[in-house]
């Protein structure tokens, strides 16, 4: 089944690309805030999957929609706690590069 000429796989390709771009950013970046942005990309790509599956495969239900809503709420909670941690780290170390934060390293 296609919708306006776009199959489900179109959405899956976009979200896969976005997910692995996020993974690449998480591995390459050194600044804590840019790593947080990569995590937001990953969460967002998962949301696209939920909504697309809901819309194409189970149009009679709304489970995918609610899951996506809950993921957005959790992303907001995660971002607020992460940014509080980043600000606290900045106060102690005066920068937020992961390589300089090694006080608890054994």
């Amino acid at each position: 089944m296609e919708r306006y000429g776009i199959p489900l796989e179109g959405f899956l390709v976009i979200s896969t690309a976005m997910f692995f771009i996020g993974i690449y950013g998480f591995l390459v970046r050194k600044n804590l805030i840019t790593m947080l942005m990569s995590i937001e990309l990953i969460l967002n790509s998962v949301n696209i999957n939920f909504v697309a599956f809901n819309s194409y495969l189970f149009p009679e239900n709304m489970q995918g929609n609610f899951f996506a809503l809950i993921v957005v709420a959790i992303a907001a909670a995660e971002a607020s706690v992460a940014i509080a941690l980043i600000i606290n780290i900045y106060r102690r170390f005066s920068n937020i590069e992961v390589e300089n934060i090694d006080e608890m390293k054994y």
Partner: protein
């Protein structure tokens, strides 16, 4: 080529290009703005699929809330003029290999899989239906997850305040 198709390809191209720019941009504030464009294009995809409430939440919470939070923390913690140094090439190649091989594996798996499409008539998922189902305790109701997520948000907010508070 209908207008719907053109819209879809436009959003798809915007999402992928701006995602790549988000993780490769060497100025941190630009990376945050590119992330904002990615999130807005995603909201466009939700509108395309006719999920208006989801798109509104995406715009208000992600594009409005989280990006503003990120930009504030950038302004508090970084020098805006400063450019990141390019990461070491071996690290970039390793990360790109990991990401590309994972992406190849996923694409291989789901392009071979045949999905069973739903044949039932779609329900209306407007604001009324979502609100009723979100707070219903009947079958298919989401009252418990809704309460759990409220408590999680409250806990996260208190935790964020306590962590970010200046010690004595």
């Amino acid at each position: 080529m209908t207008a719907y198709k053109i819209m879809f390809y436009l959003f798809a191209a915007m999402i992928i290009v701006f995602s790549i720019l988000t993780v490769t941009s060497r100025r941190i504030l630009r990376a945050a703005v590119f992330l904002l464009f990615v999130l807005i294009s995603t909201a466009g995809l939700y509108f395309w699929l006719d999920y208006q409430f989801m798109a509104g939440v995406q715009l208000a919470l992600y594009a409005g809330g989280i990006v503003v939070l990120i930009i504030f923390s950038i302004l508090l913690t970084s020098h805006i003029d400063q450019k990141f140094s390019q990461p070491h090439w071996s690290k970039r190649i390793m990360a790109a290999t990991a990401a590309l091989s994972g992406m190849g594996l996923c694409l291989l798996l789901f392009l071979q899989h045949t999905f069973i499409h739903g044949t039932n008539p779609p329900i209306k998922n407007d604001m009324t239906a979502i609100g009723t189902q979100l707070l219903s305790t009947e079958h298919n109701g989401f009252a418990l997850p809704f309460e759990v997520i409220s408590i999680l948000l409250l806990a996260a907010m208190i935790a964020a305040i306590i962590i970010a508070k200046k010690g004595k």
